[in-house]
């Protein structure tokens, strides 16, 4: 039967070509490194159910192509995303420099309050590093992003990246900052949320009376 979950979040993985977006997703879903990965064509899709703060959340992840020629296609997937992993390659300053563009795209096309985590990928290649941790974390702070350095090869911080982003969204729901019922929020209730469901007005009180017996 179908898996049960409390929420479903729509996630994006964005960033320049060759930064390891598909490998991050693969590591997150399959728990292993994707050898001989090719350039993504268009947009790929993956999903996994995770447990965040006592809630089960299904992450529906859209892994976009980084190549310029797919840009207009990938942009059409942005709308209604609740969270995003913005990925650059710590061994390539070029991919770091492109971050501003990606960020603008995400905030204008997806939603201004999309939860974004910045991922400096290929942490395992520290010897070839072109972007320092400090520099990137300052960028993250200035742009109101969460930040992690990850390695799709070793799996370091990959899970954390996705979970951290999911947790932020859950907090926003709890605080009322995000309304899952709103169309295009990128969030849906799952059927597991039945257990603590909010019944339609009118029937709630009646139910309580009878439940006590």
């Amino acid at each position: 039967m179908s898996e049960t979950y409390d929420f479903l979040f729509k996630f994006l993985v964005i960033g320049s070509a060759g930064t390891g977006k598909s490998c991050l997703l693969h590591q997150f879903i399959e728990n292993k490194f994707k050898q001989d990965s090719n350039h993504t064509i268009g947009v790929e899709f993956g999903s996994r159910v995770v447990n965040v703060g006592g809630k089960t959340v299904k992450l529906q992840i859209w892994d976009t192509a980084g190549q310029e020629r797919f840009r207009s296609v990938t942009r059409s997937y942005y709308r209604g995303a609740a969270g995003a992993l913005l990925v650059y390659d710590i061994t390539s300053r070029e991919t770091y420099n492109a971050l501003t563009n990606w960020l603008t795209d995400a905030r204008t096309l997806a939603s201004p309050n999309i939860a974004i985590i910045l991922c400096g990928n290929k942490k395992d290649l520290d010897a070839d590093r072109e972007v320092t941790f400090l520099e990137a974390s300052r960028f993250a702070q200035e742009n109101d992003l969460m930040f992690l350095e990850t390695s799709a090869l070793t799996g370091e911080n990959v899970e954390e990246g996705f979970l951290k982003c999911a947790r932020t969204i859950l907090n926003k729901i709890d605080s009322g900052e995000l309304d899952p019922e709103r169309m295009g929020s990128g969030i849906q209730y799952g059927d597991a949320s039945l257990r603590q469901l909010r019944q339609p007005r009118g029937t709630t009180t009646q139910n309580k009376q009878h439940c006590s017996c």
């Binding site: 039967m1 179908s2 994707k34 050898q35 001989d36 090719n38 350039h39 064509i41 268009g42 947009v43 790929e44 899709f45 529906q60 859209w62 020629r69 797919f70 207009s72 296609v73 942009r75 059409s76 997937y77 709308r79 209604g80 169309m183 849906q188 209730y189 799952g190 059927d191 949320s193 039945l194 469901l197 909010r198 019944q199 339609p200 029937t203 009646q206 139910n207 009878h210 439940c211 017996c213």
Partner: protein, 892 residues
């Protein structure tokens, strides 16, 4: 008399032996009280044979109540679960509702002791579930689950839904009033709510839910909602959703589950959508969201094409159905409440816009890739090179053992993910099928907002915008047309863009497509044995078959005739497909009966076309319309008719212009003359032809201009082609235009013109009249040979061996290729007609040069067969000629 006596003796003897063996008498004591104590132990042990024997011929009152509590034997049987005895007693008239001293009926006792089978039987014999015993309890109080299980029992199906519902409701109320656990599951984890849902018992579900029944799945994870949807119980679903709001999303998500029957789910969603103003837009918006996610997944290359495509199309189909129902209250038609805001009905399509946007961007991307390839032709290699390259890649990925998970698709090229650099070619082949499926969904959504028969301007604009990409898709993989581009059949304006590609596809595929689309609107086209309403039977008189058929058909409606035809001949019993076939056969033969003057024979006598003088019959146009209806109806129901028309008339049905060669079917001599004019330089011949013809109209000659002022325009070498075309049209079309129009009017009531276009005139003949049987032996016997060939020549032996090995369809093609007709004349090949009288099938030798194909002269039925060096070459060349050259004559 003797036998009777013997028989009685035997009976007595056997009674005696039995009595001796069992050590008791087999007769029941006269007095009830003694008898009942004799029977009671037998009933308890369910010795029904003994009981049956004893009761036979006895005067025992089966309802005799005995003992302290005044029970009947039926009580005993019910109490002990003696089913056989119970049935026996019931059959002998035991009262199922007899109450003992405490007011209990047998049903009470059976229920108290969990005697499931006994309860079933008692219910079958109308035991009253509502009788209360002295404690005020009905039998159902005792065991709810046994009752509900009983209800599932197919044996109780004769109870009807209402009774079941009532029993269930009674049970549940009793149960609840006595303070039982409302959520107590049975062994497999099924709760009362579960049972209520599995039978769509709305009222019961309502009571259970309003008294706080929990929504629990059984041990296999099957939920009450699953059960409701499986059974298509919209009302029960609605109640579940009322009480558990979250189930709404679950219900929507179910559209992605291909194990659920689409029709049932649709039924449920349609019902729920009509329950309140809010539900309609909410269901549609949610469906649109699910469809969008699905569509995006479909456009992800690593997803399973087949599963995602089916899922997307299913959701969109359901979406369109629900949309077309409209909101529940019509006054809120155009601006209704959604999230409290007044928004138009079309608002529900909004989530899908994301998908259409992606689709558009994808097509634009592919268009750019195409342009890039075109500008840079050096990078695009020839087809075979690409194929071998891809094969190598395929091997490489297989060997590496870590091939990425890629679904198997129709086109092997799509399966291959490119190494390192994704070339434009690959992007196209990998996405073509996926994008086409999304286009199909887009069309469905566009057209469900349009009135019937109109094409959405937005969709037309879309196709025009992406014309080059779509053409590229179908050229690479023509299957896409049949699988996804159904819109072409509904939009003639778009069809013409793809016609040349479609015509190039195998006849069989086009046929399937034709019928798939033709019957798409019929609700139960898959039902073979449809119950026939007596009023819908066409009652035909054999002695006036034409007139009575015409009357019956005009009395019926087109819709009814589409649903199915039932024919009965007056004074005959027979009905069914066989009679329908016979009716089409003899009726079609009657249509060409010369007495009606509707059709005339062609020159070779095997085919027919409308008679230009049919107006001698004052009602002729009505009859032509009727003939068109019959032909259309036959085609609609895949029935064959017994008429073969001239090539030119098939062209008229298809709306294809006729050519001068077609004239030969009505006037071969004249056709030769036209041919001669075309073949020779007429400048210096002094023919003095003008653009006019003299026609015989009932004895009087009239000069008819071929075009305005034609009588004074001379035919010259320069304009002779126009002259031939005009004269052809006059002879073939203009003379019978009213007849053709009337015929088509009838034909098109069943077969839309856009659909019939899929075929050419040869295929139309095949569809209407079927594949003719060709007797090869007869063919061989009636063939002549010229210019060097004779029966002994090896090449002739080869030729017949090849003919024998051909399929029936290919033999027809060969016959068509040589004679111009797919028909063998009545009486066989001996009666094959040529331009001037009998003309046997002839094979003539032609000197062989490489790649030379066989040719033919249809007017003299001659096959010009080059002297091929081997049978293989002969076979190969012949097939090439048949498959490519059966139309488009070049005069040799």
């Amino acid at each position: 008399m003797m036998e009777r006596a013997m028989e009685q003796l035997n009976v007595q003897l056997s009674r005696l032996t039995r009595s001796l063996r069992r050590a008791r008498t087999v007769e029941l004591p006269e007095d009830n009280e003694t008898a009942v104590y004799t029977l009671m132990p037998m009933v308890m042990a369910d010795q029904h044979r003994s009981v049956s024997e004893l009761l036979l011929n006895s005067k025992f009152d089966v309802n005799y109540a005995f003992g302290r509590v005044k029970r009947s034997l039926l009580h005993i049987a019910a109490n002990c679960g003696s089913v056989e005895c119970l049935v026996l007693l019931l059959k002998r008239g035991a009262n199922p509702n007899y109450q003992d001293i405490s007011g209990c009926t047998p049903l009470h006792l059976a229920a108290r002791n969990g005697q499931k089978k006994c309860m079933g039987k008692l219910l079958e014999y109308n035991a009253d579930v509502n009788i209360c015993n002295n404690e005020g309890l009905t039998a159902l109080k005792y065991d709810y689950f046994l009752v509900s299980l009983l209800l599932c029992d197919s044996k109780l199906n004769n109870f009807g839904v209402w009774t079941k519902q009532n029993i269930m409701l009674q049970t549940v109320l009793c149960l609840l009033d006595s303070g039982a656990d409302i959520n107590r599951p049975n062994v497999s984890g099924a709760t009362p709510l579960y049972f209520a849902c599995s039978h769509g018992q709305r009222d019961t579900a309502q009571i259970l839910l309003s008294r706080g029944a929990k929504y629990l799945a059984d041990k296999n994870g099957i939920t009450p909602l699953d059960l409701c949807v499986q059974g298509g119980y919209g009302e029960t679903c609605e109640i579940l959703i009322q009480h558990h709001g979250r189930l709404f999303q679950t219900l929507i998500q179910m559209t992605q589950n291909d194990e659920i029957k689409e029709s049932m789910l649709r039924q449920v969603l349609e019902h729920v959508s009509q329950q309140s103003d809010g539900h309609y837009p909410r269901i549609l918006t949610s469906l649109a969201e699910v469809a969008t996610t699905n569509g995006h997944k479909l456009l992800s290359l690593s997803s399973s094409f087949d599963a995602q495509m089916k899922s997307l199309l299913r959701i969109v189909r359901i979406f369109c159905h629900v949309f077309c129902l409209g909101p529940s209250s019509p006054n809120s038609g155009n601006d209704m409440c959604y999230n409290g805001n007044k928004t138009p009905r079309s608002q529900v399509f909004k989530p899908l816009e994301l998908l259409w946007h992606s689709l558009d961007e994808w097509l634009v991307l592919i268009s750019t890739e195409l342009d890039r390839n075109r500008k840079n032709p050096s990078s695009s290699s020839s087809g075979s090179e690409i194929a071998s390259l891809l094969l190598k890649q395929c091997e490489a990925t297989d060997n590496s053992g870590s091939a990425p998970k890629i679904p198997s698709l129709m086109d092997p090229q799509i399966v291959i993910e490119t190494e390192v650099y994704a070339d434009g070619e690959d992007v196209i082949s990998m996405t073509a099928n996926r994008l086409s499926a999304v286009i199909q969904a887009f069309y469905m959504c566009c057209s469900c907002q349009m009135p019937q028969g109109m094409t959405s301007p937005r969709f037309i604009e879309f196709v025009c915008k992406h014309d080059n990409v779509l053409k590229c898709f179908v050229t690479r993989n023509p299957r896409i047309i049949f699988n996804h581009f159904h819109f072409l059949l509904e939009c003639p304006e778009l069809m013409s863009r793809f016609m040349h590609i479609i015509k190039g596809q195998p006849f069989k595929d086009r046929c399937e497509w034709f019928y798939e689309h033709l019957l798409a609107g019929q609700p139960d086209s898959d039902m073979v044995h449809r119950p026939v309403n007596e009023n819908d039977i066409l009652l035909i008189h054999r002695d006036s078959i034409f007139r009575s058929s015409c009357e019956m058909v005009s009395k019926s409606t087109n819709e009814k005739l589409k649903q199915g035809i039932a024919v009965r001949f007056h004074g005959e019993e027979g009905m069914g497909q066989g009679v329908v076939r016979e009716w089409f056969d003899i009726l079609s033969n009657e249509i060409i009966n010369p007495d009606y003057a509707l059709f005339t024979q062609s020159a070779d006598g095997t085919t027919f076309q409308p008679n230009s003088n049919s107006s001698v019959n004052p009602d002729h146009l009505n009859y032509f319309r009727f003939a068109g209806q019959i032909l259309g109806l036959a085609l609609y129901h895949r029935q064959l008719v017994n008429i073969y028309f001239t090539r030119s008339f098939y062209k008229h049905i298809l709306g294809i212009p006729v050519s001068y060669q077609d004239v030969s079917s009505i006037d071969p001599e004249y056709a030769k003359n036209l041919q001669w004019i075309l073949d020779n330089d007429i400048s210096d011949l002094g023919l003095e032809l003008t653009f006019s013809v003299e026609t015989d109209v009932f004895g009087a000659m009239e000069e008819v201009p071929l075009k305005p002022g034609g009588t004074s325009i001379l035919v010259t070498q320069d304009n002779k082609a126009e002259y031939v075309q005009l004269v052809t049209e006059l002879r073939m079309t203009r003379a019978i235009q009213p007849q053709i129009n009337a015929f088509l009017q009838g034909f098109h009531t069943f077969i839309p013109p856009s659909l019939i276009q899929l075929f050419d005139e040869y295929e139309l003949e095949l569809l209407l009249s079927g594949m003719p049987e060709i007797d090869v032996q007869d063919w061989v016997r009636n063939t002549e040979y010229t210019s060097g060939y004779d029966t002994q020549e090896p090449i002739i032996q080869w030729f017949w061996e090849v003919v024998k090995s051909l399929t029936q369809e290919e033999r027809v093609l060969l016959l068509q290729f040589v004679t111009g007709s797919s028909r063998v004349p009545h009486g066989g090949f001996a009666f094959l007609m040529g331009g001037s009288g009998l003309q046997k099938f002839t094979v003539a030798a032609v000197a062989f040069t490489s790649n030379l194909l066989p040719t033919s002269s249809t007017c003299i039925n001659m096959l010009k067969l080059p002297e091929y060096p081997s049978q293989e070459v002969l076979r190969d060349r012949l097939l090439v000629a048949l498959h490519c050259g059966s139309y488009g004559y070049t005069m040799a």
